[in-house]
Symmetry: C2
Subunit: 388 residues, 2 copies
């Protein structure tokens, strides 16, 4: 099977851009990735595109061909949707397509419009990631669901809202020089604790924002990269996916994420590494508690041990395992369908040494991206490695 | 790469079932496929699921995990959406997953609810398969779009509404003994010609109905089939996908389908066959003109020659190349996200010799499935072959 190289990545800034259409956003990210790769659009053999709720946001389905045209790609295009992990699964199918030799050059990306829907519209749109019949009609919202998970975690393992505040403070601090981030303001633990509660025990700063934005990456076979002399030092060496029951009440665990565990196991096996080999990770921190659940399920911490990691400085940039150096969903923003590939874009820059935070890191060689959908009913994990 | 076998297939009846939920429909089809395969649900390693507009029909996204749970599958689940080709692309990713050795047992399926939306709601829902900004807001509907394509075809190549009526008559006749078909009534050319015009030159009988339904197939590696002693004589030997610009006005051709041409070329290459090797085909006849465009783009007829094929008895069951022996979308029904896999299910039964129409055929060995999205901005082609 062909080795998969990342030849280029591209992002729009994440934030409030209610007047920009989806095709406009993806054109910016996609063309930036193709330019970064030095690959002309007609060279692309397939587009895999992640979008969560374009049907509600733009009255638009069938976005694959629309987005291909927006970047000048004349190739088959497939839209994937797994809620907030939509572009994580797009990366997985793109990797398969290069690996099995069906294509040498694949564009993968994602996009979400949310702020044009208003807060109530976006909240309603996000709710379709959960079980409409048994959760949403009973009044559940995503802040409420993650608040249940945080409550269950505190009860099972301990930890406090102050521990979670440290996750938010770390991720806001990480985002400060990131020109693509939605929030570039430092916050304090006190500010986080004093903020209004959204769904007890979670407060305003425990939650990621509602965001617009797009992301893209050009994946190529090793043979193509060598033949074309591309600068593609970062490879995707591992890919995995896990699933769980959609509704929280059907799960065995509220304070653990088995779908992430399965995705990680598959990705580690695929890459031939273990959690101890990872130098930095971008994980799905839609809420601060989600970062805690992720770093435990990924095998970086035992159950119950992850909640203190930010507080103890272990996951800060100078810690033993920097987490969400981009700012994470919390501060970088979370345009849902774009997030999985945005993690890949951030990690690629961090591994190449071209990210504004690269100088803070100790030449990381192995990065991990973790993308989750719903209350982690879907999860993808990718392992990226750089040649030096 | 592993050879991909079809171990089992399952369908719900297609028709008006507005009170059945999506999970209920897919449970019936998925469990039927697993039962047909003799495979227990926990053996499944991945679900690929096609659905087009669950966001609008059921206020439900993230259907992968929901549908996995509905059939007792505890595995990662990915939803794919390419309008009316949604489960066609699901088959493609399922095939890749078995071929590259990532899984031995994959469930693939699709589902659509439409009649619960009412006619206006379903028409609105279907419209998101076209370009909302530049086509739908200008008043385009799908009957209108295919009417434009029919008009362009007649102008470019000739042919008549009577030729198209023969397509409808043939497909209604084919469906008569199909217990899963929505329409099991014979019609005459005169009836079709006398029916109200929906969008000139297309009349009521030129259009497929609005349908609810689900479909599923169990794909396994050849090694697994042999090890488990499964009855899996039908293989997927070729898979292809093509794309085109989403909006009709951006295309070079109204009277040809380049996306189908590309998908067919890829699938034929993959299977190592050509169009002359195909013994029967299920093609995407959402409108009668669509069957004509398909059989030309698939290489069965030269451009301009396909329009008379049904009239001349070449594509009837006793013709040289039977087309849509299941009844096609026209008479079998078209629950959008279910259609691609339903074609695979019908073909599998026809190749096995277990379909109610099998006795009318001359032991076909090679079947082709063609699934299209929108005005053929997306197309997939699969080649199925049976061992005898």
């Amino acid at each position: 099977m062909s080795e998969v190289r990342i030849a280029g990545v591209g992002l729009t800034p994440f934030g409030r851009m209610p007047d920009r259409t989806g095709r406009d956003l993806f054109a910016e990210a996609g063309l930036a990735a193709l330019d970064d790769a030095g690959v002309a659009p007609p060279t692309v053999e397939h587009l895999f595109f992640g979008n969560f709720m374009g049907e509600l946001a733009e009255h638009q389905g069938h976005q694959g061909p629309l987005m291909a045209e927006a970047v000048g790609v004349n190739a088959p295009a497939t839209r994937l949707e797994t809620a907030c992990a939509s572009s994580g699964v797009a990366v997985r199918e793109a990797v398969k397509t290069v690996r099995n030799g069906e294509a040498d050059v694949v564009l993968v990306g994602g996009m979400e419009r949310m702020t044009n829907m208003g807060t109530a519209g976006a909240t309603d749109g996000l709710s379709i990631a959960a079980d409409d019949l048994y959760e949403i009609r009973a009044g559940m919202t995503f802040p409420g669901a993650y608040a249940l998970m945080a409550t269950a975690y505190f009860e099972e393992y301990g930890g406090s809202v102050e521990d979670l505040a440290h996750v938010a403070v770390k991720n806001h601090d990480n985002a400060l020089p990131n020109e693509y981030a939605q929030f570039r303001n430092a916050i304090t633990v006190e500010q986080a604790l004093d903020a209004p509660r959204i769904a007890d025990p979670l407060g305003l700063f425990d939650s990621c924002p509602i965001s617009d934005g797009a992301s893209a990456a050009v994946l190529v076979s090793e043979e193509f990269a060598e033949r074309e002399g591309l600068d593609a030092a970062v490879s995707v060496t591992g890919s995995g996916q896990g699933g769980d029951k959609l509704a929280l009440h059907d799960r065995e665990w509220l304070a653990r994420s088995p779908a992430t565990e399965k995705a990680a196991e598959m990705a580690y096996d695929d890459a031939g590494i273990g959690p101890d080999d990872v130098d930095l990770a971008e994980v799905h921190d839609c809420f601060t508690i989600a970062e805690v659940l992720a770093i435990e399920a990924l095998g970086f911490y035992d159950y119950g041990e992850g909640v203190g990691a930010a507080r103890d400085g272990e996951t800060t940039r100078d810690g033993r395992l920097p987490i969400n150096v981009s700012g994470g969903l919390k501060a970088k923003g979370h345009p849902v369908g774009a997030t999985g590939v945005a993690q890949i874009a951030s990690l690629t820059k961090l591994l190449r040494g071209t990210h504004p935070r690269s100088s803070d890191l100790d030449d990381p060689r192995v990065g991990l991206a973790h993308n989750a959908g719903g209350t982690v009913a879907s999860a993808t994990v990718h392992v990226l490695e750089v040649e030096r």
